[in-house]
Protein backbone atom coordinates (compact mmCIF):
# COMPACT_ATOMS: atom_id res chain seq x y z
CA UNK A 1 0.00 0.00 0.00
CA UNK A 2 2.85 2.41 0.76
CA UNK A 3 4.23 1.90 -2.76
CA UNK A 4 0.80 2.75 -4.19
CA UNK A 5 0.66 5.89 -2.01
CA UNK A 6 3.99 7.01 -3.44
CA UNK A 7 3.12 6.20 -7.07
CA UNK A 8 -0.18 8.04 -6.78
CA UNK A 9 1.77 10.97 -5.34
CA UNK A 10 3.23 11.54 -8.82
CA UNK A 11 -0.29 11.50 -10.29
CA UNK A 12 -1.45 14.25 -7.89
CA UNK A 13 1.65 16.33 -8.65
CA UNK A 14 0.83 16.21 -12.37
CA UNK A 15 -2.91 16.66 -11.88
CA UNK A 16 -2.55 20.04 -10.09
CA UNK A 17 -1.06 22.05 -13.00
CA UNK A 18 -3.20 20.13 -15.51
CA UNK A 19 -6.38 21.37 -13.82
CA UNK A 20 -5.09 24.95 -13.72
CA UNK A 21 -4.21 24.81 -17.42
CA UNK A 22 -7.66 23.38 -18.24
CA UNK A 23 -9.35 26.17 -16.25
CA UNK A 24 -7.35 28.87 -18.06
CA UNK A 25 -8.28 27.36 -21.44
CA UNK A 26 -11.96 27.17 -20.48
CA UNK A 27 -11.90 30.73 -19.15
CA UNK A 28 -10.37 32.05 -22.38
CA UNK A 29 -12.93 30.19 -24.49
CA UNK A 30 -15.98 31.24 -22.45
CA UNK A 31 -14.88 34.88 -22.11
CA UNK A 32 -14.25 35.11 -25.86
CA UNK A 33 -17.68 33.57 -26.53
CA UNK A 34 -19.53 36.06 -24.29
CA UNK A 35 -21.11 39.08 -25.93
CA UNK A 36 -19.02 42.26 -25.74
CA UNK A 37 -20.14 44.55 -22.91
CA UNK A 38 -21.50 43.77 -19.47
CA UNK A 39 -21.95 40.04 -20.26
CA UNK A 40 -18.24 39.70 -21.04
CA UNK A 41 -17.25 41.66 -17.92
CA UNK A 42 -19.51 39.41 -15.85
CA UNK A 43 -18.09 36.20 -17.38
CA UNK A 44 -14.55 37.51 -16.81
CA UNK A 45 -15.41 38.26 -13.17
CA UNK A 46 -16.84 34.74 -12.63
CA UNK A 47 -13.84 33.02 -14.17
CA UNK A 48 -11.35 35.25 -12.37
CA UNK A 49 -12.91 34.27 -9.05
CA UNK A 50 -12.87 30.56 -9.97
CA UNK A 51 -9.24 30.64 -11.08
CA UNK A 52 -8.16 32.63 -8.01
CA UNK A 53 -9.86 30.02 -5.78
CA UNK A 54 -8.55 26.97 -7.62
CA UNK A 55 -4.89 27.99 -7.97
CA UNK A 56 -4.16 27.53 -4.23
CA UNK A 57 -6.29 24.36 -4.14
CA UNK A 58 -4.34 22.85 -7.05
CA UNK A 59 -1.10 23.94 -5.39
CA UNK A 60 -2.37 22.08 -2.29
CA UNK A 61 -2.99 18.96 -4.43
CA UNK A 62 0.60 19.15 -5.71
CA UNK A 63 1.95 19.50 -2.16
CA UNK A 64 -0.26 16.56 -1.14
CA UNK A 65 1.25 14.55 -3.99
CA UNK A 66 4.74 15.58 -2.99
CA UNK A 67 4.12 14.46 0.61
CA UNK A 68 2.71 11.19 -0.74
CA UNK A 69 5.75 10.66 -2.93
CA UNK A 70 8.09 11.36 -0.01
CA UNK A 71 6.33 8.80 2.19
CA UNK A 72 4.77 11.29 4.62
CA UNK A 73 1.52 9.28 4.57
CA UNK A 74 3.14 5.86 4.93
CA UNK A 75 2.14 5.90 8.58
CA UNK A 76 -0.49 8.29 9.90
CA UNK A 77 -0.12 9.68 13.45
CA UNK A 78 -1.63 7.45 16.15
CA UNK A 79 -2.23 10.36 18.51
CA UNK A 80 -1.98 14.14 18.64
CA UNK A 81 1.48 14.10 20.24
CA UNK A 82 2.84 12.91 16.91
CA UNK A 83 1.54 16.02 15.13
Amino acid sequence: MNTLKRILGVVWIILGPTIILFLFMQAAEKIAAAAVGIARTNTTLQWSIIIIIFIPICAGLMIFGYYGLKGEYDRLPGNSDEL
Partner: protein, 510 residues
Amino acid sequence: MSTPKDNVTQSITKVIAASSLGTLIEWYDFYIFGSLAVIIGHQLFPSDAGASALINTLAIFAAGFIVRPFGALVFGRLGDLIGRKYTFLLTLVLMGGSTFLIGLIPSYSSIGYAAPILVLILRLVQGLALGGEYGGAATYVAEHAPAGKRGFFTSWIQTTATLGLFLSLGVIVATKNILGAPAFADWGWRIPFLLSILLVGVSIYIRMKMHESPVFSKLKAEGKISANPLKESFQKKANFKMVLLALFGATMGQGVIWYTGQFYAQSFLENTCKLDFNESRYILLWAILFATPFFVIFGSWSDKVGRKWIMLSGMLFGIIFYRPIYQYFIDATDVGEFQKTELKSSSAPVVTREFLAEKADSLITTTTVKTLNNGSTFKEIKAVTLHADETLPPTEKISFADVTLPNSTFWIIVALVFFQVLLVTMVYGPIAAFLVELFPTQIRYTSMSLPYHIGNGVFGGLVPFIATLVASFQGSTPLSGLWYPIGIASLSFVIGAVYINNKGDRDVTD
Protein backbone atom coordinates in the same frame (compact mmCIF):
# COMPACT_ATOMS: atom_id res chain seq x y z
CA MET B 1 -33.46 10.02 41.90
CA SER B 2 -31.02 10.99 39.14
CA THR B 3 -27.72 9.19 38.81
CA PRO B 4 -24.41 10.70 37.65
CA LYS B 5 -24.93 8.90 34.32
CA ASP B 6 -28.34 10.61 33.92
CA ASN B 7 -26.72 14.00 34.63
CA VAL B 8 -24.05 13.39 31.99
CA THR B 9 -26.73 12.41 29.46
CA GLN B 10 -28.81 15.46 30.39
CA SER B 11 -25.77 17.68 30.10
CA ILE B 12 -24.74 16.39 26.66
CA THR B 13 -28.37 16.70 25.51
CA LYS B 14 -28.33 20.39 26.44
CA VAL B 15 -24.98 20.84 24.71
CA ILE B 16 -26.31 19.26 21.51
CA ALA B 17 -29.58 21.22 21.66
CA ALA B 18 -27.84 24.57 22.22
CA SER B 19 -25.24 23.97 19.53
CA SER B 20 -27.60 22.47 16.94
CA LEU B 21 -30.25 25.16 17.36
CA GLY B 22 -27.74 27.93 16.69
CA THR B 23 -26.22 26.14 13.71
CA LEU B 24 -29.67 25.38 12.29
CA ILE B 25 -30.56 29.09 12.54
CA GLU B 26 -27.33 30.03 10.77
CA TRP B 27 -28.19 27.70 7.89
CA TYR B 28 -31.76 29.10 7.87
CA ASP B 29 -30.35 32.63 7.59
CA PHE B 30 -27.99 31.58 4.79
CA TYR B 31 -30.70 29.78 2.78
CA ILE B 32 -33.51 32.35 2.94
CA PHE B 33 -31.39 34.72 0.91
CA GLY B 34 -31.04 32.11 -1.84
CA SER B 35 -34.72 31.16 -1.70
CA LEU B 36 -35.80 34.80 -1.99
CA ALA B 37 -33.10 35.86 -4.45
CA VAL B 38 -35.57 36.66 -7.24
CA ILE B 39 -37.74 38.92 -5.04
CA ILE B 40 -34.67 40.58 -3.50
CA GLY B 41 -33.42 41.18 -7.04
CA HIS B 42 -36.66 42.99 -7.94
CA GLN B 43 -36.82 45.03 -4.73
CA LEU B 44 -33.23 45.91 -3.98
CA PHE B 45 -31.50 45.81 -7.36
CA PRO B 46 -31.91 48.06 -10.42
CA SER B 47 -33.85 46.52 -13.29
CA ASP B 48 -31.06 47.01 -15.85
CA ALA B 49 -28.69 44.12 -16.45
CA GLY B 50 -25.60 46.29 -15.99
CA ALA B 51 -23.93 46.89 -12.65
CA SER B 52 -26.60 44.86 -10.84
CA ALA B 53 -25.45 41.72 -12.67
CA LEU B 54 -21.90 42.29 -11.40
CA ILE B 55 -23.04 42.91 -7.83
CA ASN B 56 -25.21 39.77 -8.04
CA THR B 57 -22.27 37.71 -9.25
CA LEU B 58 -20.10 39.04 -6.44
CA ALA B 59 -22.84 38.40 -3.86
CA ILE B 60 -23.29 34.79 -5.01
CA PHE B 61 -19.67 33.86 -5.68
CA ALA B 62 -17.97 35.85 -2.93
CA ALA B 63 -20.34 34.86 -0.13
CA GLY B 64 -20.45 31.21 -1.09
CA PHE B 65 -16.92 30.40 -2.16
CA ILE B 66 -14.40 32.98 -0.96
CA VAL B 67 -15.67 34.33 2.32
CA ARG B 68 -16.67 31.00 3.87
CA PRO B 69 -13.12 29.54 3.93
CA PHE B 70 -11.85 32.96 5.02
CA GLY B 71 -14.41 32.95 7.89
CA ALA B 72 -13.14 29.48 8.78
CA LEU B 73 -9.64 30.90 9.18
CA VAL B 74 -10.65 34.05 11.09
CA PHE B 75 -13.06 32.41 13.52
CA GLY B 76 -11.14 29.15 13.70
CA ARG B 77 -8.12 31.10 14.95
CA LEU B 78 -10.31 32.98 17.44
CA GLY B 79 -11.87 29.72 18.64
CA ASP B 80 -8.46 28.21 19.31
CA LEU B 81 -7.29 31.37 21.10
CA ILE B 82 -10.25 32.53 23.21
CA GLY B 83 -12.43 29.42 23.27
CA ARG B 84 -15.24 27.71 21.39
CA LYS B 85 -18.18 29.16 23.27
CA TYR B 86 -17.54 32.88 22.74
CA THR B 87 -16.45 32.41 19.14
CA PHE B 88 -19.56 30.62 18.00
CA LEU B 89 -21.64 33.12 19.97
CA LEU B 90 -19.99 35.84 17.90
CA THR B 91 -20.71 34.06 14.60
CA LEU B 92 -24.36 33.71 15.65
CA VAL B 93 -24.65 37.43 16.43
CA LEU B 94 -23.02 38.38 13.12
CA MET B 95 -25.21 36.03 11.12
CA GLY B 96 -28.45 37.00 12.89
CA GLY B 97 -27.62 40.71 12.81
CA SER B 98 -26.79 40.76 9.11
CA THR B 99 -29.89 38.71 8.23
CA PHE B 100 -32.11 41.09 10.24
CA LEU B 101 -30.51 44.10 8.55
CA ILE B 102 -31.12 42.68 5.05
CA GLY B 103 -34.81 42.72 5.99
CA LEU B 104 -34.55 46.44 6.78
CA ILE B 105 -32.74 47.67 3.65
CA PRO B 106 -34.89 50.25 1.82
CA SER B 107 -35.73 49.42 -1.78
CA TYR B 108 -33.64 50.45 -4.78
CA SER B 109 -36.32 52.97 -5.72
CA SER B 110 -35.74 54.72 -2.33
CA ILE B 111 -31.95 54.74 -1.94
CA GLY B 112 -30.56 53.77 -5.34
CA TYR B 113 -27.30 51.82 -5.59
CA ALA B 114 -26.81 51.96 -1.82
CA ALA B 115 -29.39 49.11 -1.63
CA PRO B 116 -27.51 46.44 -3.65
CA ILE B 117 -24.17 47.50 -2.12
CA LEU B 118 -25.60 47.05 1.40
CA VAL B 119 -26.95 43.62 0.35
CA LEU B 120 -23.49 42.64 -0.87
CA ILE B 121 -21.80 43.78 2.36
CA LEU B 122 -24.31 41.98 4.59
CA ARG B 123 -24.13 38.85 2.43
CA LEU B 124 -20.36 38.84 2.87
CA VAL B 125 -20.81 39.06 6.65
CA GLN B 126 -23.22 36.10 6.42
CA GLY B 127 -20.66 34.01 4.54
CA LEU B 128 -17.96 34.96 7.02
CA ALA B 129 -20.13 33.99 9.99
CA LEU B 130 -21.16 30.66 8.43
CA GLY B 131 -17.50 29.86 7.84
CA GLY B 132 -16.85 30.25 11.55
CA GLU B 133 -19.97 28.59 12.94
CA TYR B 134 -19.79 24.96 11.86
CA GLY B 135 -16.30 24.18 13.13
CA GLY B 136 -17.17 25.71 16.49
CA ALA B 137 -20.39 23.76 16.93
CA ALA B 138 -18.86 20.44 15.84
CA THR B 139 -15.78 20.92 18.03
CA TYR B 140 -17.86 22.02 21.03
CA VAL B 141 -20.16 18.99 20.86
CA ALA B 142 -17.31 16.55 20.13
CA GLU B 143 -15.28 17.81 23.09
CA HIS B 144 -18.24 17.13 25.39
CA ALA B 145 -19.02 13.70 23.95
CA PRO B 146 -17.69 10.42 25.35
CA ALA B 147 -15.22 8.60 23.07
CA GLY B 148 -17.51 5.79 21.94
CA LYS B 149 -20.43 8.08 21.03
CA ARG B 150 -18.77 11.00 19.30
CA GLY B 151 -20.14 10.07 15.87
CA PHE B 152 -23.66 9.78 17.30
CA PHE B 153 -23.59 13.09 19.18
CA THR B 154 -21.96 15.17 16.42
CA SER B 155 -24.36 13.75 13.84
CA TRP B 156 -27.08 15.97 15.34
CA ILE B 157 -25.03 18.97 14.22
CA GLN B 158 -24.91 17.33 10.77
CA THR B 159 -28.72 17.36 10.46
CA THR B 160 -28.85 21.15 10.84
CA ALA B 161 -27.92 22.10 7.27
CA THR B 162 -30.79 20.01 5.89
CA LEU B 163 -33.21 21.15 8.59
CA GLY B 164 -32.18 24.77 8.02
CA LEU B 165 -33.21 24.35 4.38
CA PHE B 166 -36.53 22.90 5.56
CA LEU B 167 -37.14 25.73 8.02
CA SER B 168 -36.38 28.42 5.46
CA LEU B 169 -38.75 26.87 2.91
CA GLY B 170 -41.43 26.40 5.60
CA VAL B 171 -41.28 29.99 6.87
CA ILE B 172 -41.31 31.40 3.34
CA VAL B 173 -44.27 29.25 2.22
CA ALA B 174 -46.23 30.00 5.44
CA THR B 175 -45.61 33.77 5.20
CA LYS B 176 -46.60 33.78 1.53
CA ASN B 177 -49.79 31.79 2.20
CA ILE B 178 -50.81 34.07 5.08
CA LEU B 179 -50.14 37.38 3.33
CA GLY B 180 -50.94 36.40 -0.25
CA ALA B 181 -48.53 36.58 -3.17
CA PRO B 182 -48.82 40.35 -3.97
CA ALA B 183 -48.23 41.52 -0.36
CA PHE B 184 -45.42 38.99 0.03
CA ALA B 185 -43.66 40.24 -3.09
CA ASP B 186 -44.16 43.87 -1.99
CA TRP B 187 -43.08 43.79 1.67
CA GLY B 188 -43.85 40.34 3.17
CA TRP B 189 -40.54 38.87 1.95
CA ARG B 190 -38.86 40.91 4.70
CA ILE B 191 -40.61 38.91 7.46
CA PRO B 192 -38.43 35.75 7.18
CA PHE B 193 -35.36 38.00 7.50
CA LEU B 194 -36.75 39.99 10.44
CA LEU B 195 -37.92 36.80 12.15
CA SER B 196 -34.31 35.71 12.32
CA ILE B 197 -33.60 38.15 15.16
CA LEU B 198 -36.08 36.33 17.41
CA LEU B 199 -34.63 32.91 16.58
CA VAL B 200 -31.09 34.19 17.09
CA GLY B 201 -32.10 35.91 20.36
CA VAL B 202 -33.41 32.63 21.77
CA SER B 203 -30.32 30.77 20.59
CA ILE B 204 -27.92 33.35 22.07
CA TYR B 205 -29.76 33.17 25.40
CA ILE B 206 -29.39 29.37 25.43
CA ARG B 207 -25.75 29.42 24.34
CA MET B 208 -24.85 32.10 26.90
CA LYS B 209 -25.85 29.68 29.65
CA MET B 210 -23.53 26.96 28.35
CA HIS B 211 -20.06 26.35 29.76
CA GLU B 212 -16.85 26.37 27.76
CA SER B 213 -15.73 23.02 26.33
CA PRO B 214 -14.12 20.98 29.15
CA VAL B 215 -11.22 19.93 26.91
CA PHE B 216 -10.44 23.53 25.95
CA SER B 217 -10.87 24.74 29.56
CA LYS B 218 -8.35 22.13 30.73
CA LEU B 219 -5.91 23.18 28.04
CA LYS B 220 -6.33 26.82 29.03
CA ALA B 221 -5.82 26.03 32.72
CA GLU B 222 -2.61 24.21 31.85
CA GLY B 223 -1.42 27.17 29.74
CA LYS B 224 -1.13 25.00 26.63
CA ILE B 225 -3.22 27.11 24.28
CA SER B 226 -1.64 27.64 20.88
CA ALA B 227 0.04 31.04 20.51
CA ASN B 228 -0.54 31.09 16.76
CA PRO B 229 -3.10 28.52 15.54
CA LEU B 230 -2.84 29.56 11.88
CA LYS B 231 0.92 29.08 11.85
CA GLU B 232 0.69 25.74 13.66
CA SER B 233 -2.11 24.48 11.41
CA PHE B 234 -0.64 25.38 8.06
CA GLN B 235 3.10 25.86 8.51
CA LYS B 236 3.79 22.77 10.59
CA LYS B 237 4.18 19.95 8.08
CA ALA B 238 2.88 17.20 10.36
CA ASN B 239 -0.44 19.04 10.76
CA PHE B 240 -0.68 20.58 7.29
CA LYS B 241 -0.45 17.16 5.66
CA MET B 242 -3.52 16.11 7.69
CA VAL B 243 -5.40 19.26 6.57
CA LEU B 244 -4.66 18.29 2.93
CA LEU B 245 -5.70 14.70 3.58
CA ALA B 246 -9.00 15.83 5.15
CA LEU B 247 -9.72 18.06 2.14
CA PHE B 248 -8.80 15.73 -0.71
CA GLY B 249 -9.69 12.41 0.91
CA ALA B 250 -13.01 13.37 2.54
CA THR B 251 -14.58 16.85 2.42
CA MET B 252 -14.05 17.36 -1.33
CA GLY B 253 -16.08 14.23 -2.19
CA GLN B 254 -18.58 14.89 0.58
CA GLY B 255 -19.24 18.41 -0.79
CA VAL B 256 -20.19 17.25 -4.30
CA ILE B 257 -22.35 14.38 -3.01
CA TRP B 258 -24.18 16.82 -0.70
CA TYR B 259 -24.91 19.40 -3.41
CA THR B 260 -25.80 16.84 -6.09
CA GLY B 261 -28.31 15.03 -3.85
CA GLN B 262 -30.00 18.06 -2.35
CA PHE B 263 -29.74 20.81 -4.98
CA TYR B 264 -28.75 19.44 -8.39
CA ALA B 265 -31.43 16.71 -8.31
CA GLN B 266 -34.21 19.26 -7.79
CA SER B 267 -32.74 21.66 -10.34
CA PHE B 268 -32.39 18.83 -12.91
CA LEU B 269 -36.01 17.73 -12.43
CA GLU B 270 -37.25 21.29 -12.83
CA ASN B 271 -35.02 22.57 -15.63
CA THR B 272 -34.08 19.50 -17.67
CA CYS B 273 -37.12 17.28 -17.06
CA LYS B 274 -39.49 20.29 -17.08
CA LEU B 275 -41.34 19.21 -13.95
CA ASP B 276 -43.77 21.64 -12.41
CA PHE B 277 -42.21 24.08 -9.85
CA ASN B 278 -44.11 22.62 -6.86
CA GLU B 279 -43.78 18.99 -8.04
CA SER B 280 -39.96 19.13 -8.04
CA ARG B 281 -39.94 20.72 -4.55
CA TYR B 282 -42.41 18.21 -3.12
CA ILE B 283 -40.17 15.39 -4.39
CA LEU B 284 -37.16 16.89 -2.60
CA LEU B 285 -39.09 17.63 0.59
CA TRP B 286 -40.39 14.04 0.86
CA ALA B 287 -36.93 12.65 0.14
CA ILE B 288 -35.28 14.84 2.78
CA LEU B 289 -37.99 14.06 5.31
CA PHE B 290 -37.45 10.30 4.96
CA ALA B 291 -33.65 10.54 4.83
CA THR B 292 -32.85 12.99 7.65
CA PRO B 293 -32.88 10.37 10.47
CA PHE B 294 -30.08 8.55 8.66
CA PHE B 295 -27.60 11.32 9.55
CA VAL B 296 -27.87 10.10 13.12
CA ILE B 297 -27.98 6.40 12.16
CA PHE B 298 -24.77 6.59 10.10
CA GLY B 299 -23.10 8.89 12.64
CA SER B 300 -23.85 6.39 15.37
CA TRP B 301 -22.82 3.40 13.23
CA SER B 302 -19.47 5.07 12.52
CA ASP B 303 -18.70 4.84 16.25
CA LYS B 304 -18.79 1.05 15.88
CA VAL B 305 -17.32 0.31 12.44
CA GLY B 306 -15.18 3.39 11.80
CA ARG B 307 -15.86 6.56 9.80
CA LYS B 308 -13.86 5.89 6.65
CA TRP B 309 -15.81 3.21 4.80
CA ILE B 310 -19.24 4.66 5.54
CA MET B 311 -18.17 7.98 4.01
CA LEU B 312 -16.38 6.37 1.08
CA SER B 313 -19.30 4.00 0.38
CA GLY B 314 -21.56 7.06 0.03
CA MET B 315 -19.15 8.45 -2.56
CA LEU B 316 -18.82 5.10 -4.38
CA PHE B 317 -22.60 4.59 -4.66
CA GLY B 318 -22.88 8.11 -6.08
CA ILE B 319 -20.17 7.36 -8.66
CA ILE B 320 -21.93 4.13 -9.71
CA PHE B 321 -25.59 5.13 -9.58
CA TYR B 322 -25.83 8.83 -10.53
CA ARG B 323 -25.97 8.26 -14.28
CA PRO B 324 -28.60 5.44 -14.23
CA ILE B 325 -30.72 7.46 -11.77
CA TYR B 326 -30.66 10.63 -13.86
CA GLN B 327 -31.26 8.60 -17.04
CA TYR B 328 -34.40 7.25 -15.35
CA PHE B 329 -35.45 10.84 -14.53
CA ILE B 330 -35.24 11.71 -18.23
CA ASP B 331 -37.04 8.54 -19.38
CA ALA B 332 -39.78 8.70 -16.73
CA THR B 333 -40.63 12.33 -17.44
CA ASP B 334 -40.70 11.96 -21.23
CA VAL B 335 -43.98 13.56 -22.24
CA GLY B 336 -43.79 11.83 -25.62
CA GLU B 337 -44.16 8.49 -23.81
CA PHE B 338 -46.96 9.86 -21.61
CA GLN B 339 -48.99 10.70 -24.69
CA LYS B 340 -49.34 7.03 -25.56
CA THR B 341 -51.87 7.05 -22.70
CA GLU B 342 -55.38 8.15 -23.58
CA LEU B 343 -56.06 11.89 -23.32
CA LYS B 344 -58.58 12.68 -20.61
CA SER B 345 -59.07 16.38 -21.16
CA SER B 346 -57.51 19.37 -22.84
CA SER B 347 -57.88 23.07 -22.05
CA ALA B 348 -58.86 25.64 -24.63
CA PRO B 349 -55.70 26.70 -26.49
CA VAL B 350 -54.26 30.12 -25.65
CA VAL B 351 -52.75 31.76 -28.74
CA THR B 352 -50.30 34.65 -28.67
CA ARG B 353 -48.63 36.38 -31.59
CA GLU B 354 -45.30 38.12 -31.32
CA PHE B 355 -43.30 40.15 -33.86
CA LEU B 356 -39.58 39.28 -33.91
CA ALA B 357 -38.16 42.70 -34.73
CA GLU B 358 -34.59 41.66 -35.52
CA LYS B 359 -35.65 39.31 -38.37
CA ALA B 360 -39.09 40.74 -39.12
CA ASP B 361 -40.52 37.22 -38.54
CA SER B 362 -43.74 36.43 -36.63
CA LEU B 363 -43.96 33.90 -33.82
CA ILE B 364 -47.33 32.31 -33.07
CA THR B 365 -47.43 30.41 -29.79
CA THR B 366 -50.29 28.05 -28.91
CA THR B 367 -50.38 26.79 -25.30
CA THR B 368 -52.65 23.93 -24.24
CA VAL B 369 -52.85 22.22 -20.84
CA LYS B 370 -53.48 18.50 -21.26
CA THR B 371 -54.55 15.92 -18.69
CA LEU B 372 -54.00 12.22 -19.38
CA ASN B 373 -55.86 9.20 -18.03
CA ASN B 374 -52.78 8.12 -16.05
CA GLY B 375 -53.11 11.29 -13.90
CA SER B 376 -50.28 13.31 -15.41
CA THR B 377 -50.69 16.84 -16.70
CA PHE B 378 -48.45 19.02 -18.83
CA LYS B 379 -48.44 22.22 -20.81
CA GLU B 380 -47.90 21.76 -24.57
CA ILE B 381 -46.37 24.82 -26.24
CA LYS B 382 -46.47 24.86 -30.03
CA ALA B 383 -44.37 27.67 -31.52
CA VAL B 384 -44.74 28.41 -35.24
CA THR B 385 -42.40 30.93 -36.86
CA LEU B 386 -43.71 32.66 -40.00
CA HIS B 387 -40.73 34.00 -41.89
CA ALA B 388 -40.69 37.45 -43.44
CA ASP B 389 -39.08 35.82 -46.46
CA GLU B 390 -42.15 34.11 -47.88
CA THR B 391 -40.09 31.64 -49.87
CA LEU B 392 -39.16 29.93 -46.59
CA PRO B 393 -41.72 27.47 -45.15
CA PRO B 394 -43.02 28.08 -41.57
CA THR B 395 -41.01 26.30 -38.86
CA GLU B 396 -42.79 24.51 -36.04
CA LYS B 397 -41.40 23.57 -32.64
CA ILE B 398 -43.25 21.76 -29.85
CA SER B 399 -42.05 21.89 -26.24
CA PHE B 400 -43.51 20.90 -22.89
CA ALA B 401 -43.52 22.55 -19.43
CA ASP B 402 -45.05 22.29 -15.95
CA VAL B 403 -45.19 18.50 -16.07
CA THR B 404 -46.87 16.69 -13.18
CA LEU B 405 -46.29 12.97 -12.93
CA PRO B 406 -48.51 9.90 -12.59
CA ASN B 407 -48.70 8.90 -8.93
CA SER B 408 -46.54 5.78 -9.24
CA THR B 409 -43.79 7.60 -11.17
CA PHE B 410 -43.83 10.43 -8.62
CA TRP B 411 -43.08 8.03 -5.77
CA ILE B 412 -40.40 6.16 -7.73
CA ILE B 413 -38.64 9.50 -8.28
CA VAL B 414 -39.08 10.36 -4.58
CA ALA B 415 -37.38 7.01 -3.81
CA LEU B 416 -34.49 7.80 -6.16
CA VAL B 417 -33.98 11.28 -4.70
CA PHE B 418 -34.27 9.72 -1.23
CA PHE B 419 -31.46 7.36 -2.24
CA GLN B 420 -29.30 10.33 -3.22
CA VAL B 421 -30.02 12.09 0.09
CA LEU B 422 -29.24 8.79 1.83
CA LEU B 423 -25.79 8.99 0.24
CA VAL B 424 -25.57 12.53 1.63
CA THR B 425 -26.24 11.16 5.11
CA MET B 426 -23.53 8.52 4.62
CA VAL B 427 -20.83 11.02 3.67
CA TYR B 428 -22.01 13.82 5.95
CA GLY B 429 -23.25 12.03 9.09
CA PRO B 430 -19.82 10.82 10.35
CA ILE B 431 -17.64 13.64 8.97
CA ALA B 432 -17.73 15.99 11.97
CA ALA B 433 -16.40 13.27 14.26
CA PHE B 434 -13.84 12.29 11.61
CA LEU B 435 -12.51 15.86 11.31
CA VAL B 436 -12.50 16.52 15.05
CA GLU B 437 -10.50 13.37 15.72
CA LEU B 438 -7.94 14.24 13.06
CA PHE B 439 -6.55 17.34 14.83
CA PRO B 440 -5.21 18.21 18.30
CA THR B 441 -7.21 20.43 20.69
CA GLN B 442 -4.90 23.48 20.40
CA ILE B 443 -5.60 24.00 16.71
CA ARG B 444 -8.71 21.86 16.14
CA TYR B 445 -11.16 24.68 15.37
CA THR B 446 -8.81 26.23 12.77
CA SER B 447 -7.58 22.99 11.22
CA MET B 448 -10.98 21.33 10.70
CA SER B 449 -12.89 24.43 9.56
CA LEU B 450 -10.80 25.20 6.48
CA PRO B 451 -10.99 21.80 4.71
CA TYR B 452 -14.69 21.57 5.56
CA HIS B 453 -15.55 24.93 3.98
CA ILE B 454 -13.32 24.42 0.93
CA GLY B 455 -14.89 20.98 0.41
CA ASN B 456 -18.45 22.17 0.92
CA GLY B 457 -18.32 25.77 -0.25
CA VAL B 458 -15.96 25.51 -3.20
CA PHE B 459 -16.25 21.95 -4.54
CA GLY B 460 -19.89 21.47 -3.50
CA GLY B 461 -21.08 25.02 -4.12
CA LEU B 462 -19.72 24.99 -7.66
CA VAL B 463 -21.73 21.88 -8.68
CA PRO B 464 -24.50 23.91 -10.45
CA PHE B 465 -22.01 26.23 -12.19
CA ILE B 466 -19.58 23.56 -13.39
CA ALA B 467 -22.30 21.03 -14.26
CA THR B 468 -23.94 23.68 -16.46
CA LEU B 469 -20.55 24.48 -17.98
CA VAL B 470 -19.83 20.83 -18.82
CA ALA B 471 -23.32 20.45 -20.29
CA SER B 472 -22.50 23.35 -22.65
CA PHE B 473 -19.56 21.50 -24.26
CA GLN B 474 -19.95 20.39 -27.85
CA GLY B 475 -21.49 16.93 -28.12
CA SER B 476 -22.68 16.92 -24.51
CA THR B 477 -25.93 15.31 -23.36
CA PRO B 478 -28.26 16.24 -20.47
CA LEU B 479 -26.27 13.79 -18.30
CA SER B 480 -22.86 15.31 -19.09
CA GLY B 481 -23.04 17.73 -16.15
CA LEU B 482 -22.85 14.72 -13.81
CA TRP B 483 -19.22 14.13 -14.80
CA TYR B 484 -18.16 16.92 -12.42
CA PRO B 485 -19.57 15.38 -9.19
CA ILE B 486 -18.66 11.87 -10.41
CA GLY B 487 -15.09 12.96 -11.21
CA ILE B 488 -14.53 14.81 -7.92
CA ALA B 489 -16.13 12.00 -5.88
CA SER B 490 -13.93 9.44 -7.70
CA LEU B 491 -10.78 11.44 -6.96
CA SER B 492 -11.76 11.82 -3.31
CA PHE B 493 -12.71 8.12 -3.08
CA VAL B 494 -9.31 6.97 -4.38
CA ILE B 495 -7.40 9.35 -2.07
CA GLY B 496 -9.57 8.42 0.93
CA ALA B 497 -9.36 4.67 0.26
CA VAL B 498 -5.59 4.67 -0.16
CA TYR B 499 -4.43 7.26 2.39
CA ILE B 500 -6.97 7.38 5.27
CA ASN B 501 -7.02 4.97 8.22
CA ASN B 502 -10.36 3.52 9.27
CA LYS B 503 -9.45 3.53 12.94
CA GLY B 504 -7.98 6.94 13.61
CA ASP B 505 -7.02 8.61 16.87
CA ARG B 506 -10.28 8.60 18.88
CA ASP B 507 -8.82 10.60 21.77
CA VAL B 508 -9.82 14.26 21.45
CA THR B 509 -8.48 15.33 24.83
CA ASP B 510 -4.90 15.62 23.59
